[in-house]
Amino acid sequence: MSRRLPEVGGVFLQMEDEIASMAAVIGASYAGIKSMTATSGPGFSLMQENIGLAVMTETPCVVVDVMRAGPSTGQPTKTSQQDVMQAKWGSHGDYEVIALTPSSVQEMFDLTIEAFNLSETYRCPVFIMTDEIVGHLMERLNIPEPEKIQLVERKRPTSPPSEYLPFRAGEDLVPEMATFGEGYRFYATGLTHDETGHPQTDSPDEHAKLVQRLCDKIRKNAGKIVKVERVFLDDADVCVIAYGSVARSALSAVVEGRERGAKIGLLRLVTLWPFPEEAVEQVAEQVDRIVVPEMNYGQLVREVERCAGRKKVTFLPKLGDALHTPGEIMAHVLH
């Protein structure tokens, strides 16, 4: 990005730490441009403070986390899917975010555009939760003509500065966003605030109203945000639910299983947060068993269990810089 951004009229900054990176991303977004940062596990931990600020100030921005093995410094540059819960719960307080998880180089490209579009639509940070395997993958990539790429811009104020209420939202729960330097002279704060943006630190009602809106603008639009891919699920008895690079192994396992006559299918999660509850509930009604392979010691499987009712969910962990092989997933499915 350091090489590419100036070539296309942008700028790239190397900040002093990831706390500063996330703060700078917010500052740039309020100045009216699209901004993003990229990191790995420990850096993602440092960003959590200002991710909370981005949520509270409804800042459109994108964060890429190439997940590696933790806790702490763990295994630098070794693959994992250990930050998927951090993406949802990493900063303090109640909030909702959007997190996408690419499985290929093509999806890395497509979902980056999607992430910016979602962040501009819902005025929230959007995460691209990928892993080291996808991060270092080299494969075919089709870049569409620029005019064929659909870009979404944040809603701009429709009222003059004297009447502008920076945090008043209509039915879609997303406020119009002015840009610094345009004469709106508005105030953004990490404190609980009302529609004018003024602090409301003593009002339980204002706090409830704000936090509910920040969450509901994502929750109530989950149907529009969530994306999954269904493979061989129509007549499946067993469903593998996977995401990221693990989904590629899972797909091989499913294809191979089908060739051997096993009725298995794959539900690939493209969106991690908001969690694809409906898709998992649907599949749970249909199949006898759900298998969840993850490169961690049990994270998103908890969400699957929550949505699977009484259906049997089995978990297949993988730790220590290794991807599940299709054979391992297959053996687990047939077990």
């Binding site: 100036p6 296309v8 900054l13 703060a23 100030t57 610094f180 330097g181």
Partner: protein, 286 residues
């Protein structure tokens, strides 16, 4: 019927005054002098963004009728870097406390100064964390009593003007809350400079710091600052001491240096020009 009108009314945000600051606090002096400076300069208020951190003075971004951002603790300068990189035509003014800028935000301070970010940093230094109950911080003098130094502080404090100068600031000054006119003149000078300017304002905190250090009375605090302050402009900032019996104030640095956002965008423009010359089409333009 006539209504009372404050000459700075247009510069303050409607519905946000009165402020939260205690009687005798110097934060009001900083707010007043900052706004008077802008008024005297006839500064374009649409080209200025006030960014603050957490603490008593952190609330100032809500009081100024400007575009303003009240950030997380210690992070106003980091946010200002992104703001300035995106919109070089805007001037971020960072107004925050000694704890915010030099403890939790210390790293961002030295790096923003090193970059020569075009900003004016006004630091309200009250020697402690006033808002959260008077804990010690990076500027608490040796032997001073705070809620977390019950037997007297044993840690060496930062000399902020020395730190700012060593980090690369192009303008550095220190005043106290009694030097109202000097503060205003320094702000005017600093805001007009292109690069990282720093003004420390030593501020009484009668409620928290004063009560624990035998100066609980607001007037006594002001008298103390008047008695111990000596103007020694352009001496080596390392010698500009802050002691109970002597506070050296004045201007200590006033130089010129290429600025961060200018250099950043110059680079992008030169790369764009080079690509155009080579006939390579770029698909995005700003």
């Amino acid at each position: 019927m006539s209504t009372a009108y404050h000459p700075l009314e247009d510069y303050t945000r409607r519905g946000m005054i009165p402020h939260i600051w205690c009687n005798g606090c110097g934060d009001g002096v900083i707010l007043g002098e900052f706004l008077r400076a802008l008024d005297e300069m006839k500064y374009d208020m649409n080209k200025l963004v006030v960014v603050s951190g957490i603490g008593c003075i952190g609330r100032i971004s809500g009081y100024t009728h400007t575009d303003s951002f009240h950030t997380t603790h210690g992070r106003p300068l980091a946010l200002a870097v992104g703001l300035k990189a995106a919109r070089p035509d805007l001037k971020p003014i960072v107004i925050s406390g000694d704890g915010d800028l030099f403890a939790i935000g210390g790293n961002h301070f030295i790096h923003a100064a090193r970059r020569n970010l075009d900003t004016t940093v006004i630091c309200s230094n009250n020697f402690n964390y006033g808002m959260t109950g008077g804990q010690s911080g990076p500027t608490t003098p040796i032997d001073a009593y705070t809620t977390t130094t019950r037997y007297g502080n044993i840690e060496h404090p930062f000399n902020l003007v020395h730190l700012a100068a060593a980090s690369g600031a192009i303008y550095v000054a220190r005043w106290t809350a009694i030097h109202v006119k000097r503060i205003r003149e320094s702000i005017k000078k600093a805001v007009n400079k292109k690069g990282f300017s720093f003004i420390e304002v030593i501020t009484p905190c009668p409620e928290e710091y004063g009560r624990r250090n035998k100066i609980p009375d607001p007037i006594e605090n002001m008298k103390w600052l008047r008695e111990v302050s000596v103007v020694r402009s352009f001496i080596d900032p390392i010698e500009a001491v802050v002691q109970p019996d002597k506070i050296v104030v004045g201007e200590f640095v006033d130089i010129e240096k290429p600025e961060f956002s200018d250099l950043l965008w110059e680079k992008t423009r030169s790369i764009q020009a080079m690509l155009e010359k080579e006939g390579k089409v770029t698909n995005v333009t700003i």
